[in-house]
Symmetry: C2
């Protein structure tokens, strides 16, 4: 099974410079060395993943709960090898989980797949040979 | 300024039991003791927040990039006191950040506010006297 960890929270942003400016200057966070001109990373610590009723969460944030399509956010889980990615995805498939993207070599040199949770939130299951 | 940490990733879900079943039985994760019948928590470790082009992220996940309204996901930052929440929000306001919810006492006994990042992703800035 999977370790209890969340490797990344990824926000899909319209303007990377604008978003970077926000997290670097409004939050005061420092980008990590693995960042480049296309993707920025911020090392965090002590995260918890929480599940809460969608309507209640929108109400808590005082926003309209309506929303559809791509949330703009994905979650990533880094496995230890390509084989482990394959095994994890095979297990998910057997248990009826929707596989959105079959495990495959991807442009950045890794090996990646995506599955969907019941609400459509996307989890990338990947192997990154560079970390 | 803010510590470089992400206290929670919260998924707004339609059916809490269905979502809990997914993370407990598909991922094999154990809920933490602070969970109750309305909200579940999973302690994670080693998270990074990543920023990436929205269209590219959708393409990576092989989904349509279209999406609007509430993403169903919020991020939370736990400050050390109500005063610190007030001070952080005052600073954000001065720097032109959109404050979605003014700091206020909330039903669960804490003190909470929300701001929006440039893409509309919601960050809760809160004090939880119970942790």
């Amino acid at each position: 099974m999977m370790e209890q960890k969340l490797s990344f929270v990824t926000l899909g942003v319209k303007d990377l410079k604008r978003a970077a400016d926000f997290y670097e200057h409004q939050f005061g966070w420092k980008r990590s060395a693995m960042s480049d001109e296309n993707i920025l990373f911020f090392e965090l610590k002590g995260t918890q993943l929480a599940l809460y009723n969608r309507e209640a969460l929108a109400e808590d944030a005082t926003v309209d709960a309506k929303g559809e399509g791509f949330a703009g956010i994905t979650f990533s889980y880094l496995a230890g090898s390509e084989t482990e990615v394959d095994e994890l995805i095979a297990g998910f498939r057997e248990r009826g989980v929707t596989i959105v993207k079959e495990p495959q070599k991807v442009f950045w040199g890794g090996y990646s797949s995506y599955l969907s949770d019941p609400d459509g939130y996307l989890w990338e299951i990947a192997f990154n040979p560079f970390v």
